[in-house]
Symmetry: C2
Subunit: 522 residues, 2 copies
């Protein structure tokens, strides 16, 4: 077997293939600009050459502060083609957070789309990073460099080498740099393309931020299929509905909060359900059955994915079982709201007790969701302590509390830190939220624990209501009592106009918890 | 990064997943027998236990002499789960060839389906192999062992380790043992599932022999998708049409000769075109545009795949370009008849000249098709000389002569050894056959060279005609002359009722060549 070679698995291989096979097809639409796959491939290779020209060496980190754009897609291929490591920055973070991440990653170059040039300049002033701004009119340095650079490639030698660093949103403490390897991203992207059934005829609408777990690896998955990337530089439900109705969109992905926004937009009801249905991947937080059913009625077929930054985004999928075809839409939505099973390239998901044994698959016994395999991170960048804690040689503990159903599908009941313990009983906040969300007046809810002298904790619900629909706190509490054990019903309902959210659309329960604690101590 | 583990890529992982996710779905239909995925998974693990019980050690070879059956599917998973190496035997080979392969592989156990017990006993007598016969009524030893064995697994430690040995059909010389590794089969199967768009709702009809390149890895691909394997123990066009019309079949694969048989069966015209169309993968020999167009008219949508035993079956695919949607059916068939491009996990296919440089992509300049990557074999088993010749550290030379079109799709013009050189000009036999096949009277044709004192070689065509349709040799020669350079037209047409074929359905041109040479020397 001497002399035998294997091709390392690296996700930029998908672009190289698409640039050959689908050379004349439209790869990217970004506002007025269109690029074919041949152009996309050429630009990514030129970007690699340009980075080399700026002194980027193999292993160097290159940061991206970009809206969803051709630039970000080019970076997802051009940076690895240069042998460098991509650090996609969450554009909704504060200046200080971004400065911290830039310093921690050690990136000395930051590529920026023009919308963010002002913020980028502040970060550059603090860190000394070299900026490369794209799309800034005539003085477009990015375009200039691409034009003058020769195409280049530093071949990937080690598929287990570092490809990208995704920083966690860090609801508590400093963001951590999650390290992705080439092999994991390659396999995760192929799994995404397979499960979503992307083809060269697909149009993938970029509602999901590309900086978020590399757009859950759809940055590479849509390219693997030769699909068209339709960039959306900002979320605008009216524009999204226009593209869904007339733009040929076949697929998009978004967090449930964005789906809620889309499903409740005035434009949602302004036409017939989409036909054929548009395929929607959702993840980042559990979607409620109510939301899934509402989406289905609009012709938006939701597949629920589950994962963490540490798992290249979704390593789990609520894989549709054809036996569900015969169930009622309401039953289907309940089945689909579960987090499901490992995807086609993932190891089996497990729900384990404190001793690491599988809990009974009874849909009731709560344990912790654990995972391992090719789509679990390499570790945390420059953080040996956190990496050691993550126990990557064994099973990675997600911190999510879940049950396992008899059919092998897991369902998350709560984040370990969000569960409410009242009179010795567990109140899984997600379970209560789902029941609240099923009330016709409710758009969204969040349930947190309030310290209580008698019960230890009691549940408090924050609720946003549909415009023009009325519901009293007592009605909502009664709605929960009629459907769950009485002790799970909130003791208090707080009507709000907005829930606090992270930059990736997750509800910030720690903010709500602080609020109820502060109110109590007053 | 200490303590970090990667899960080795091994195709039995797909069964483990399907047995969990699609546990209650029908995995296998084999005559009257049905198995759910849970049962399939359990049986494969019990088979591993049974093999251990028979003394099978990691790395031992286990031979399979089986028709398409649940047994063969179980072996494709149970043998690797036992840490052993599967040797699928071509059931159409002669006793002597099988004895040679069994001895060469060193397999001491041979699992056999009852249809082949007689042949197997002869082989066992010659080699001393231990037989394990499945399906032989009450004395079903295979079932008995499965019942009594405990489920077992020897985890795959090295994804680059030996998984299976596929022996070439050996038209000349002794069969060679092509070594497959776990990683290659895993990736090839995922690529097959992705390109064919297999889902848990698919029904995959087993017209392709499972022994042939592990059923081109669809043994694992259909399982990865959770599809139903519908076993066909023998090719019977009437039965195939019955299953296509009423059996829910969504996909099948077969060599072009089998497609010709299906398309020309009386049952083909006995109903409306299939709707929705059934997806058909073909490979093993080039299908003619005429055949592809005829299949399309029947509701059988052909995707042309290309590969060799050395490449896990098809490493190339005629990937459908949506731009072709607007072309005429005839144009589409011509575009589809090309071998195409590397599949989603393959490296780029190249067509090179004698110096290893790419030929111009002009659709005219002939070179040799070369390939490399994760779906190229480890080497030839116990044959260092042939392995060294294959130059696996560089580009693997397929022996197929091809052109590259301007759109990046390759088309094979001939096997290197089949091309006819006449008066210093190349006559690619496949090109002439295509034109002959387009004549309404012709079912199939094969063109070979006959030594000639004046021209060096001249072309002789062997042709089978449709029943009840007449055509004279002169008419057929004229048909070619009107469409190709005159020197490419056959000098002689031989009407035959059958063409000699290998056990995998390839036309045996060496037999025809010997025939024309013998006729000339008489």
């Amino acid at each position: 077997m001497a002399g035998f070679t294997f091709t390392p698995l690296t996700p930029s291989a998908y672009l190289d293939r698409a640039a050959w096979v689908f050379r004349d097809r439209i790869a990217i639409v970004d506002g007025e600009r269109h690029f074919t796959y041949a152009e996309f491939g050429d630009r990514a290779h030129r970007l690699a050459g340009a980075l080399h020209g700026l002194g980027v060496q193999p292993g160097d980190r290159v940061a991206a502060l970009c809206v969803n754009s051709h630039v970000m897609l080019e970076l997802h291929n051009g940076v690895p083609l240069a042998g460098a490591v991509l650090v996609p920055l969450n554009i909704r973070l504060s200046r200080d957070e971004l400065v911290y991440i830039l310093r921690h990653s050690g990136a000395r170059i930051m590529v920026v789309t023009a919308e963010l040039a002002g913020l980028a300049a502040e970060i550059a002033a603090a860190t000394g990073a070299r900026l490369l701004v794209a799309g800034a009119g005539e003085a477009d340095e990015y375009e200039g460099l691409l034009r003058s650079a020769a195409p280049a490639v530093t071949p990937c030698e080690d598929e287990r080498g570092l490809l990208a660093i995704s920083y966690t949103s860090g609801t508590t403490g400093r963001p951590k740099g999650v390290m992705y390897h080439h092999r994991g991203a390659y396999l995760q992207a192929l799994a995404a393309a397979f499960h979503a059934r992307l083809t060269a005829g697909s149009v993938y609408l970029w509602t999901l931020p590309m900086f978020h777990c590399d757009g859950w690896c759809f940055t590479w998955a849509a390219t693997a299929a030769g699909a068209t990337h339709l960039c959306l530089r900002a979320i605008d439900p009216a524009r999204i509905w226009e593209l869904l109705r007339t733009g040929g969109v076949t697929h998009f992905s978004a967090a449930p909060t964005v789906l809620t926004m889309i499903a409740n937009a005035p434009e949602a009801g302004a036409g017939a359900p989409l036909e054929p249905p548009v395929q929607v991947q959702t993840g980042g937080a559990p979607p409620s059955p109510t939301l899934i059913a509402r989406m289905a009625a609009l012709g938006l077929q939701v597949t629920h994915l589950y994962g963490l930054t540490e798992t290249y985004g979704p390593l789990a999928i609520n894989d549709w079982n054809p036996a569900w075809d015969a169930r009622s839409p309401a039953d289907q939505a309940v089945l689909q709201a579960r987090q499901g099973v490992g995807n086609v390239i993932a190891d089996r998901l497990r729900v384990v007790d404190a001793d690491g044994n599988d809990v009974p698959a009874d849909g009731e016994t709560i344990g912790e969701l654990v995972c391992r395999g090719n789509d679990v991170m390499l570790g945390y960048y420059r953080d040996e302590e956190a990496t050691a804690e993550a126990d990557l040689a064994g099973w990675f503990h997600t911190g999510d509390l879940a049950v396992m159903y008899p059919d092998g599908y897991a369902e998350i009941r709560d984040r370990a830190k969000d569960i409410i313990i009242s009179g010795g009983e567990n109140i899984p906040s997600v379970e209560v939220e789902r029941v609240l969300d099923s009330h016709p007046a409710v758009i969204e809810s969040a349930v947190v624990g309030r310290p209580d002298d008698v019960w230890g904790e009691v549940a408090v619900a924050f609720v946003t209501l549909r415009p023009g629909v009325r519901a009293t706190p007592d009605e909502l509490i009664e709605h929960v009592r009629a459907r769950l054990a009485r002790f799970k019903a909130p003791k208090e309902i707080v009507m709000v106009t907005d829930l606090p959210k992270t930059s990736t659309g997750k509800i910030q329960k720690h903010v709500l918890r602080e609020q109820v604690r502060a109110a109590r101590s007053r």
